[in-house]
Assembly symmetry: C2
Homo-oligomer: 512 residues x 2
């Protein structure tokens, strides 16, 4: 038998080095590296197409998927990097990087145990979240975890452990003030862009509200997407602190400040799957709030047949989990269950929702009253929960700063502090859909409206989405426009239109 | 409002054409296409990195993931194809292909419903399986489906519907003979390569056994992987029929004959996840058998603490599902629950297992008796179930053709008919692990042994794996070899060794 004696430093510990090359291939957030099949490391390490490989440069490490290149795109001593991998390693053309087998992802055995019906332990969850934040989970492993935690399969202990683990792997903000308020809306309701109103109202009243928001998960626009059409949102910690010190509030993208980074990794896979999980949702919301240093948070839970939360039973259950987990984690949570039967405002999509917000802030004639009323309700609760208004007086206080223009002035000041106010873009292509029937609008399918807006390009195309002209209760005549699709490309416009026209019950009419 | 009137043939219906280019990038089975960010189709359709795009050439269609190329690798009117995409479309350099948005994967809503606790309907399953076979599911969508169906979450109706759907999307073999026998082993037991013995024994006795086998799912070697070290296994339908007509039996790779192609797509994602599901397993096994035209099948269920099936309760439950689903689908199933406490034979890995098989067929001195006995037991049951031997006489009949050399002659004839017998490869790098303690072997961790073999490169590296020298009950002295790791590269050898040395209970010794 041909026995091979290993050197003292084993082969996999030895640094195998290749020269890094920027391939100019954009694989979005997925890390991909390209190596020649006749490269010495492919041969010695047994790497093949789709192998997971670890690449490091100094103290930066990534785990990437290998694509094997047969053609002469790169030399045998080169390693090509996708744009995401290049950014993560801080690429320098021709510099040497190390390449080796990644450590096995041991924490996935905890995911398997969960799938087979055993609860996730704190240790298991900590290991999973650490591995996710370190980029060790492949997309299919994250998809499996998300699926295993969907459909009410996480209990309170798991949820609290997951929240804690998510906070621990990211940055955490600390503020001098004892009361730091926040608000959050559990999505699923197109156009519900109350944050952009609540923050300036509350900040104008003197409470500190350092709002971090996410980009869209399964919706056509997240708060950060909408705010970005009005001002820069990718603030770092120092910038956020400066804006809040100056104006009491900010509306920043949470991803840029690295609060709960594992949550951001999961969201990237959750988005295309479109799955809901109370446990993941509670952990996602509370980990971001606690990491942001919030002490008091009001959470809006819109309920509707086609909203994210579909029944009052489900909303009450979710509310109980949010409050219970909050108590256990030392954050005061108040949930407000609101009507989620139809879109809020008229626009769906980043820029179109921004136009609605501006109209309310400016007390413009014809500004969407539903958006205004929801924002005032939530702002009132925040003012009460944060101790700025007496019980029952919050709503009136909120209304006075909105009516006086103080909230609008505060919003402009916040936008300036965040880097300068912008004019939201307008779409190059629009199409008006007109009713073929006469009747009273009795129901709206929010999920399919959201799909139309997404097919039109939202949220990536900021000007894309739709304007909705037919609220529940309104009477529509034959030929009357009920929605307008906005898109930045004719292909997307056509795609959204084909889908919209194929839906029978986008809007349900009652004959008159 | 700037209203855009669509032409009669909408933009997404119009064929957008690009010239196909072979990129020489191997992404394994994943379809990837490369387009310039300034390509007119990216702009008009709103395609971005990671968009799912449909590409067609004549009647061939693929749905691929888009990578956007910024550098000047290809021209703006070109579309680059990964090797898998190039093969699937039958690539011809410079020929025009169509590019458009793929239709939304509507069937995934049935997966979501399953995740939320509602059963899969027949219609839902049919739509899912059709979409998977057509390549419309992304890897994360398949991972989600597999997770949702794992851990006993599929009932009998779902399992039968899934099996039927899987049969219907692939080819189905029809044979003249009324009795077509088959055998199958539910994996998890390293080295259990009885198929390569049962087929020649049964065929030598005159029963027809057109065996199709899979490659490894989560194990270090599948039957097809092991057989491939001895003869070609990628037979098409005509070749399989010719071999069976000539020799009564064959051992072919099922994937090459397109039986139950959706199962093959799922297996590609199941493999890295390493999840088990009774429902998916029953559907996978029975869909392949029924599609192959089998009428009577014996299924080996090895039970052991570290085998795939870990308890007799689990084995009985699985056996009930296999027999029950078989009855409903018109195939006679007999399950045999066997000992799965330790590896069968001495080799683990394609070529190492082939050497064990050859020793048994040749009645070589020192041939692994456990492998021989298991094969005879199963062959005896097949001979009885298929009506060739009376009840209680199958084992003796099997033994006589093995002892006489008739089975060995039949095996060589089958290999010749499949394209010519081969000599299995030997590994270039080996490392002997010796015991640091003295004692009696009382337990073996099959899962971790399998991991060692996989880290050494099996099954992709055919010569890789391990030879196991210490069966349960044997006495090991200090310094005595208990396993030898085989690898085709030093990196893989080191990786397997580091893992093996870190395991405390790969083998459990009782002090003497």
């Amino acid at each position: 038998m041909n026995t091979h004696h290993l050197p003292q430093a084993t082969a996999s510990e030895q640094a195998h080095r290749l020269q890094m090359r920027r391939m100019g291939i954009d694989t979005y957030q997925e890390m991909v590296v390209y190596m020649r099949s006749d490269c010495h490391i492919c041969k010695s390490e047994g790497f093949e197409a789709q192998s997971r490989v670890e690449v490091w440069r100094g103290d930066r490490h990534i785990v990437a998927t290998l694509n094997v290149v047969h053609a002469a795109m790169i030399a045998t001593h080169d390693i090509g990097l996708s744009e995401a991998a290049w950014r993560a390693l801080g690429g320098v053309d021709g510099e040497l990087v190390g390449v080796r087998h990644p450590a096995p992802v041991l924490s996935f055995s905890a995911v398997r145990a969960k799938i087979y019906g055993r609860p996730l332990t704190s240790d298991g969850i900590n290991a999973i979240v650490r591995d996710i934040a370190d980029g060790h989970y492949s997309d299919i492993e994250m998809a499996s975890l998300i699926t295993a935690c969907s459909g009410s399969r996480m209990d309170m202990a798991e949820t609290i452990a997951l929240t804690t683990a998510m906070i621990n792997v990211g940055q955490r903000l600390h503020w001098d003030s004892e009361v730091m308020v926040d608000k959050h809306c559990v999505g699923g309701l197109p156009g519900n862009r109350t944050t952009l109103l609540v923050v300036p109202i509350v900040a104008a009243c003197g409470l500190k509200i350092p709002k971090t928001s996410s980009r869209a998960i399964t919706s056509p626009a997240g708060t950060a997407d909408t705010m970005e059409t009005l001002a820069p949102v990718a603030l770092d910690l120092a910038q956020m602190r400066r804006v809040v010190d100056l104006e009491n509030g900010c509306i920043a993208w949470g991803g840029a400040v690295n609060l709960s980074p594992a949550d951001d990794m999961l969201i990237r896979v959750e988005r295309p799957l479109g799955l809901d999980s109370d446990g993941l949702l509670v952990a996602s919301v509370l980990s971001k709030k606690i990491a942001a240093g919030s002490t008091h948070v009001v959470i809006d839970l819109p309920v509707g047949r086609t909203a994210k939360v579909r029944s009052f039973e489900a909303a009450n259950a979710l509310a109980g989990k949010l409050v219970g987990a909050g108590d256990a984690l030392g954050i005061k949570v108040r949930t407000i269950i609101t009507d989620g039967e139809q879109p809020v405002g008229r626009g769906i999509g980043p820029a179109l929702e921004a136009h609605d917000v501006l109209a309310v802030l400016q007390n413009a004639p014809g500004a969407p009253d539903d958006l205004r009323q929801r924002a005032l309700l939530l702002a009132g609760h925040v003012l009460e929960l944060g101790g700025k208004a007496e019980v029952g007086k919050g709503l009136a206080m909120a209304r006075s700063v909105l009516d006086s223009g103080a909230a609008w002035a505060k919003f402009q000041a916040i936008c300036e502090a965040q880097g300068g106010m912008r004019v939201p873009p307008k779409a190059a292509y629009t199409h008006v859909m007109c009713s073929k029937h006469r009747g009273r609008v009795i129901a709206i399918d929010n999920r399919r409206l959201a799909s139309v807006a997404k097919l039109a390009g939202a949220p990536k195309a900021a000007a894309a989405g739709l304007m909705f002209h037919a609220p529940i209760g309104s009477i529509i005549e034959i030929g009357q426009p009920y929605l307008t699709i906005h898109a930045e490309s004719p292909g997307e416009l056509a795609y959204a239109l084909i889908y919209a026209e194929a839906q029978e019950n986008l809007i349900s009419l009652q004959e008159l």
